[in-house]
Each structure stands twice: as structure tokens, then as C-alpha cells.
Amino acid sequence: MGKVNISFTINGSSHQIDVEPQWTLLEMVREQLHLTGTKEGCGTGDCGACSMIVDGRLITSCCMLAPQADGSDVTTVEGLLANGDLHPVQQAFIETGGVQCGFCTPGMIMATKALLDRTPKPTLDDIREGLAGNLCRCTGYTKIYEAVMTASGQEI
């Protein structure tokens, strides 16, 4: 079973590589590109820990086959850093205490980024809906919602 040659952009840099056909985008990014910011929680689309933005859309990379990323533009949590500065969403998670063990955080941050790209000033209901696909075992979500409010420049 042959490897598949694919080209894509990830966090602004172009790649052309051979991938295992049965690998998910998540496996390729972690095991082959060694970008280990993105986590695997459930592996079945339920927890959102593996969230990435592909061609402008938030997806769960554990259920997307790596060869299907051919030709696409991928952003992972590593790609949010600009000139060494944290993205405002990352900064807000730190400031409000939206991070405890940190396992859900990369996914939460990507989901927040996607939400704010669509809805720059979300209501609490918008936030709950936008993050419904991301589970957190630690925070109880309140601090995470506060992080999103802060990142969007709104009062908590």
C-alpha cells in the first residue's frame, strides 16, 4: 500500500511530503512534522482537543485523513504565534486562568480563534455554542468563557 504524495501549507510554510494513507491529519502533524501542540483526546471527533483550522474552517484533525489535506492551508496552535508574541486569544487564556492541566487548551484556543473570526463580539450563548465541540475536564468552563470574553475585548 503506497504512501501518498501531498502538498500543503501549514502555519505559513509549504510542504511536499509522502504520508501513510491511513494516517489522520493529526498523526501526520504530530508524528511526521513534529508539531506536538495539537493533542489527541478521544480520537473519535467528540472532544475537540485535536482542533485545527483547515482552509478557514475549524475541524477535528483526528477524523480527517492526512491525504485529504492535499492542497489545503492548515493552521495549528503553533501558527498563532506572531513574531514570537502570543496571539491575543492565547494571552487571554493565561490572564483569566482558562488553563489548568492544559490538555484541552490548544483545541479550545483554535475553536475560540475560529469563533472570533466569525463573530468578533460573541455573547455567552455564542461562546457556549462555538465551544460545544471542545471538552474540558478541569476548569468547569467558566474561566474559559471569561478568556473568550477577554480576548474579544468584552467585559466579563
Binding site: 494513507p21 491511513q22 482542533s51 475541524i59 485523513l65 491525504p67 485529504q68 455554542e129 460545544a132 465541540g133
Partner: protein, 292 residues
């Protein structure tokens, strides 16, 4: 996951040829059902030796609406594409409502309508809306093109009328009549990220004196496939669109469905939900038909 040969054809003919040549090759669209099933090795099919991605095939793409000919939804349209389509929200609200609750934002950005229908789950959230809108499913395969009404497509849990090596190309939905409206809702313990305990869709067309000229009701997760509630439809035909007839229709629907008990709910609870949700969807669809 075990390995397989991967193909990403860029034309429909090429995909059909690959399906024929690979013998047992499986189409994949968004992968939200298939990848999970392959990981859990839960498919009743033997593990596929080849996977054929449909996402690069232009003929399977796109959503188009025309006032006279109706709606065409390409099989690889995602739930987000459908839920965000202004035409679908306006003219086929139940379809937008069904697509708009599939999993999370992430799921909706990947999950396609073709995958939702071809996976054949009794709880598939786009199935009842297509049933009540008299959708036709356009299929192509080794023996050419054919078109099937939605109510002949679902055969059993995980089973559809697709023959081996056939593909769903698109869904076609007739243009809605004047004074018509539709609605879909499902009951789930959690609002998002859950599977329907029961789903109910209704579509009504009203006469000028507010009688029911045309009626469709479809139920999800209460039978081996999504089903029409035909006895209830017959009862409602020609009745006034009133609280009384909707209340009686709710009882008829609860009586005619035949749900099972499982982890998501008992048969009795499902029957109760069918009644309650049928009444609600009839009211909502009728209000929309009146322009509300």
C-alpha cells in the same frame, strides 16, 4: 487504522472506474462516520483495501436553488454549507435545522450530506427533513444514473438502496408550494454533540382558508430507518390547521410509531416524545406556511 490504497479522483467517471477496479473500494467524504468506524473496526464491511475520496469531484459539489425547479444539493456539501445557505434557510427551513445540529462546529465543517444519508443511521438528522420535502436522491453507478424518492432510499440500520459501486450524486428537492412551511427538531439530553433520541420533521401546505392541503411527517430514531408517519398524514389531510387536529395528529403519530428501548431512551419515552414533538413541529410548520 489498517492501511489501504488512497485515491482522490477529480471527476465522477474516474471515481466510478476506481470503484469498479478496486473491487470493495469505499468512498469517503468528510470521514466523520467512516474514519471513526475504521478506527473502531466497527464497519460490517470488510476493512476496505482502497479508499476513494469524493471531495475533489466538482460534479458532487455545490448548492443551487431556482424558484421553479427547486433545490439541488451536491453530495459533498457540508452541514455548514447547508445550514448557512440563505436559500435553504428561507425555503426549506427543516433541512437547515437538521444540518445545523449535526455534532459540533467542527463536525458540521467536515460532515457531508451524502455521508449522512449513505451511512444509513436511523437517527441521521438530515433524513426526516428530506423525507418531508419529497426529496429525490440522484445515484450513479456501473449501470448508469437513476433517481430514487427519499422514502425508498433507507433500507435498514446502516443499509441503503445503493447497489455496490454506486454513488450518491446529489439531492433534488422540489420547489416549495405557496403557503407551505417545514420544521425539524430532535430531542437530545445535550443540545449539541448528541444523537437524536427522537427526531421529528413536518412540512405543510395550507389552503387560503387554513386547511391542510398537503402534509408530510417524518420520524427519526424510532424504527430501523427514518420513516414517514403515513397514518398521521392521512388523518390530517383536509383537516383545519387547528390546535385540535394537531393534538389528535400527535396521538396518532405516537400510536403508529414502533420504537425500541435502548440506552438513549425507553420505547415508552420515545412514543411520548413523538407525540409532543409532532404537535410542536406541526404548529411551527403551519406558522411558517402562514408567513410567520
Amino acid at each position: 487504522m489498517r492501511t489501504f490504497n488512497f485515491y482522490a479522483p477529480t471527476a465522477l467517471d474516474e471515481a466510478l472506474e476506481l470503484l469498479r477496479k478496486t473491487d470493495g473500494g469505499r468512498p469517503i467524504a468528510g470521514g466523520t462516520d467512516l474514519v471513526v468506524q475504521m478506527k473502531e473496526a466497527a464497519t460490517k464491511f470488510p476493512h476496505p483495501s482502497s479508499i476513494i475520496s469524493l471531495l475533489l469531484i466538482p460534479e458532487l459539489n455545490g448548492i443551487e436553488f431556482d424558484e421553479s425547479t427547486g433545490l439541488r444539493i451536491g453530495a459533498t456539501s457540508t452541514m455548514s454549507d447547508i445550514a448557512d445557505s440563505a436559500d435553504i434557510r428561507e425555503h426549506y427551513p427543516s433541512i437547515a435545522e437538521g444540518a445545523g445540529i449535526v455534532g459540533s462546529i467542527q463536525t458540521m465543517n467536515m460532515a457531508t450530506v451524502g455521508g449522512n444519508l449513505c451511512n444509513g443511521a436511523p437517527s441521521a438528522d438530515t433524513a426526516p427533513p428530506f423525507l418531508v420535502h419529497d426529496a429525490e436522491f440522484v445515484i450513479t453507478g456501473p449501470n448508469g444514473r437513476r433517481s430514487l424518492p427519499a422514502d425508498e432510499f433507507f433500507v435498514g440500520p446502516g443499509e441503503t438502496a445503493l447497489a455496490p459501486n454506486e454513488l450518491l450524486v446529489e439531492v433534488r428537492v422540489p420547489a416549495p408550494a405557496d403557503r407551505s412551511g417545514s420544521a425539524y427538531v430532535r430531542h437530545t439530553p445535550r443540545k449539541q454533540m448528541d444523537i437524536a433520541v427522537v427526531g421529528v420533521a413536518a412540512a405543510v401546505t395550507l389552503t387560503n382558508d387554513d386547511r391542510i392541503e398537503n402534509i408530510r411527517i417524518a420520524l427519526g430514531a424510532v424504527a430501523p430507518t427514518p420513516v414517514r408517519a403515513t397514518k398521521t398524514e392521512t388523518f390530517l389531510s383536509g383537516q383545519p390547521a387547528s390546535d385540535e387536529s394537531f393534538a389528535e395528529a400527535a396521538e396518532t403519530a405516537a400510536a403508529e410509531c414502533n420504537p425500541i428501548s435502548d440506552v438513549r431512551g425507553s420505547a415508552e419515552f420515545r412514543r411520548h416524545l413523538v407525540g409532543t414533538l409532532t404537535k410542536r413541529m406541526l404548529e411551527r410548520a403551519a406558522n411558517r406556511a402562514r408567513g410567520g
